[in-house]
Symmetry: C2
Subunit: 365 residues, 2 copies
C-alpha cells in the first residue's frame, strides 16, 4: 500500500509539473486545475466551484451544504516565473522529484489532493474543504484573497503547507511593506552643484533614515527582527556631469507582528523630507498563525521533534488570519525554492501525508 | 567703422550658428571650419593646417615658418548636443544674438576670426596663431588635446575665451574626476537579506565615504572648494523583493589645484570596500591659468574693473597648462549656456574685440 501511495504521489506531482504554470504560461493555471478536478471526479457529496479573478482561476471543493468547513486545505498550483518556453521534464534524483514547482508547491498539492480524496472516500460528508489557487506567487490577492474577501470563504482552521518544514511549525509571519519612493530635485551642472537640488542624494538620505528607524526596532532576537532592504535605485540621468532632478528607490521592509505595517507606512510617510514622496506601496500585516495544538502533536508523533519557527516571507495564510482563522503551516522537505532545480523529498511527502491523515481523522470529523 | 564691425560680427556669428554642429550633426564641424577658412582667404603669410582626430577636424592657422606663436587664439566651433533635426534661425533680441552656440562659443569665435584678420592685415607676419577645434563639448581630447600632444602645438600664451566674463578673469580651473563605480554582491530573497550581499547598499556606503572624504578637503573659501556629487545610480534589479547582486554609481568630483586628480583616484581606489571597483574613469587635473598681467590691464582699460574668478568647469586651457603655457580667459557677456536660447550680448562682443585688439597690439608684435 505504501508503494502504491508513493507511486501515486510521484505520478500526480509529475503530471502537475509537466504543465508550465508561471506568469508566462497563464493557460497552465486552468490546465493544472483541470488535472485536480479530474482527480476528484466521482467523489460523492462534494460541491465544486470554479471562480476567476484577474485572469487567475481558483477551484474550491466543499462538502455539499457546507460553507465553513472545520478544516480547509489550501494549496497553489502556479509557480514562480521562469523565463522558459517549455518546462523541463521532472527528474527523479536521490529520492527527490526535481524541477520547477516541485517544492513550491505541486508536490505538496499532490499530497493534499490525495489525502482529501482518501478522507472523503473513508468518511463521506467529512467537514473538510480544499481550495486550489493560481496566483500565490503574484501576491495571492486574486486567489486566496478573493476566496476569503469576495466569496466569503471561512474555515475552522486552514492548512497552508507553504512554509515551515518537516519538523518545523510556523507560528508567525512577518508583515511586508514595499515602498516606491520618488524624489524631485532641480537639475544643474555638476561643476556647481550648489545651484541645484540633487534628487538622488536627498532620496538616499531619506532611505538611510528609514533603514535606521527600522534597525532601531531590532530587539536582538536572532533574525526574527524587522528588516529594511534598499532593493533598487534609479535615476533618469544619463550624464555624469548633471545633477539629477529625479530619482526612485525601492524599499523592502519586513515587520514582526508587534509592528503594524499600515501604522509604519504613515510614520515613515510623515518623516519624509521635502521633495520625497511615496509613489506607490504594497502592504501585508504580520500575523500570528495560532496553529492547532493537535496538528503540532500529529507532527511530533510522525517526526519525533517539532521546532516552532517564524516565516520571514508572507503566505496566503494572512488572508485567513485577518478573520481570526488559525493556520497550520509545515511542509515536507523541499529545497532550491524558486530555481529550476527546485526539489521535494519523496519519503518526506509520505511522512507529510501521514501527518495530514492523522490530523484530519482527529479534527475534521 | 564701429557699425561696420558690429554688422560684420553679427553676420559672421549667424553664419556659423546656421550650421548645426553638435554631436548629432558631425558634418557641421567641417562646414564651420570651411566658413572660417573662407573668411581668412587671401590673408598673406599664413600657413593653414587642417588635421582630423577621431572624426573631429581642427584648423590651425600660423604665420609661415612659425610653430610657436607668441599668442594663440583658441576657439571651438562645436556646440553642446541638442536633440534637434534643424537648429533654429538665430534671433536678434534686446541687443543679443540668441540660439544654440551663440555664447558657447560661435559669437566669440567670430570675434577671434575678425581680430585675427585685422591684426594680420595691419601687421603682416605678426606672431599670432589661431586654432579652431570641434570637440570641446565632448572633452577636447581630439581637438586641443591632439593639437598639443600629437602635433606639438605650443605658444607663448593662449587665449581661451571660454570662461570668465566681461569683467571676470579666470585664474584657475578645477580638476575633474569622473568615476563609474560598480558593486558586485550576492542575490537573495529580501525576506531574509542576511543570506545575500546587497550590492546597492555596499555601493552607497562607499559613495558616502568618498563624499565625506572630499567634503573634508573643504577649507571654507566660498564655493572654491572640492565637490563630490552622486549623479547616477542604477541596479538591474526589477523586483522589489530581491536583494540586488549588481549596482553602478556615477560620481562627479571637482578638485581645486591643491589636490591632484590622479593622486585622488588612487587614494579613493585604495579605500573601496570588497566587491566595489572603479569600472571606468575620466580625469583632468586642475590648473592655475597664470594669465598675462598685460591682458588683465587691457580688460581693466576697457571695462573699468576686473574680478579674478575661478572656473568650476574644465576648458581646453588645461591641455596648454600642462606644458606651462599661461592662459588668458575672459569672454563677452553670454548666458543660457547649453540651452537652445543661449545668447551673446553684441555690445559686449565689441568690447571684447577691443580688449583683444589692444592686447595683441601690445603682446604679439
Amino acid at each position: 500500500v505504501s508503494e502504491d501511495l508513493r507511486d501515486d504521489l510521484v505520478s500526480l506531482t509529475c503530471a502537475l509539473m509537466r504543465v508550465p504554470s508561471d506568469e508566462g504560461h497563464p493557460e497552465g493555471w486552468g490546465e493544472c486545475l483541470r488535472i485536480a478536478r479530474q482527480r476528484l471526479e466521482g467523489l460523492p457529496g462534494l460541491a465544486r466551484t470554479e471562480v476567476e479573478e484577474g485572469g487567475h482561476p481558483s477551484l474550491l471543493v466543499l462538502p455539499e451544504g457546507v460553507d465553513r468547513p472545520e478544516v480547509l486545505l489550501l494549496a497553489h498550483l502556479d509557480v514562480v516565473g521562469h523565463e522558459l518556453d517549455l518546462f523541463p521534464e521532472p527528474r527523479l534524483e536521490d529520492g527527490c522529484i526535481v524541477g520547477p514547482g516541485a517544492g513550491d508547491m505541486k508536490g505538496i498539492a499532490a499530497v493534499c489532493l490525495r489525502v482529501f480524496e482518501d478522507l472523503h472516500r473513508r468518511h463521506p460528508g467529512i467537514s473538510l474543504g480544499l481550495a486550489l489557487t493560481t496566483d500565490e506567487e503574484t501576491g495571492g490577492h486574486h486567489g486566496a484573497g478573493a476566496l476569503v474577501e469576495k466569496h466569503g470563504l471561512r474555515a475552522g482552521v486552514v492548512l497552508v503547507p507553504d512554509g515551515g518544514g518537516p519538523n518545523q511549525l510556523s507560528v508567525a509571519e512577518k508583515g511586508i511593506l514595499h515602498l516606491v519612493l520618488e524624489a524631485s530635485g532641480r537639475e544643474c551642472h555638476a561643476a556647481s552643484p550648489w545651484n541645484g537640488v540633487n534628487a538622488l542624494e536627498i532620496l538616499i538620505r531619506d532611505c538611510l533614515a528609514i533603514q535606521a528607524r527600522i534597525a532601531a526596532l531590532n530587539n536582538g532576537q536572532d533574525d526574527w527582527v524587522p528588516t529594511c532592504s534598499l532593493t533598487g535605485l534609479r535615476t533618469h540621468n544619463a550624464s555624469i556631469n548633471v545633477i539629477p532632478d529625479h530619482a526612485e528607490a525601492l524599499l523592502d521592509i519586513r515587520l514582526t507582528p508587534s509592528h503594524g505595517a499600515a501604522e509604519m507606512l504613515e510614520t515613515l510617510r510623515a518623516g519624509l523630507g521635502p521633495g520625497i514622496r511615496v509613489r506607490s506601496h504594497f502592504l501585508a500585516e504580520a500575523c500570528e498563525l495560532n496553529p492547532d495544538p493537535l496538528y503540532e502533536a500529529c507532527m511530533r508523533d510522525q517526526t519525533g521533534v517539532v521546532e516552532r519557527v517564524w516565516n520571514h516571507g508572507a503566505s496566503d495564510a494572512r488572508y485567513f488570519c485577518r478573520h481570526g482563522i488559525p493556520a497550520n503551516m509545515s511542509r515536507p522537505k523541499v529545497g532550491g525554492i524558486h530555481t529550476v532545480d527546485e526539489w521535494i523529498d519523496i519519503a518526506s511527502m509520505l511522512d507529510f501525508h501521514a501527518i495530514l491523515e492523522n490530523y484530519l481523522e482527529g479534527s475534521a470529523r
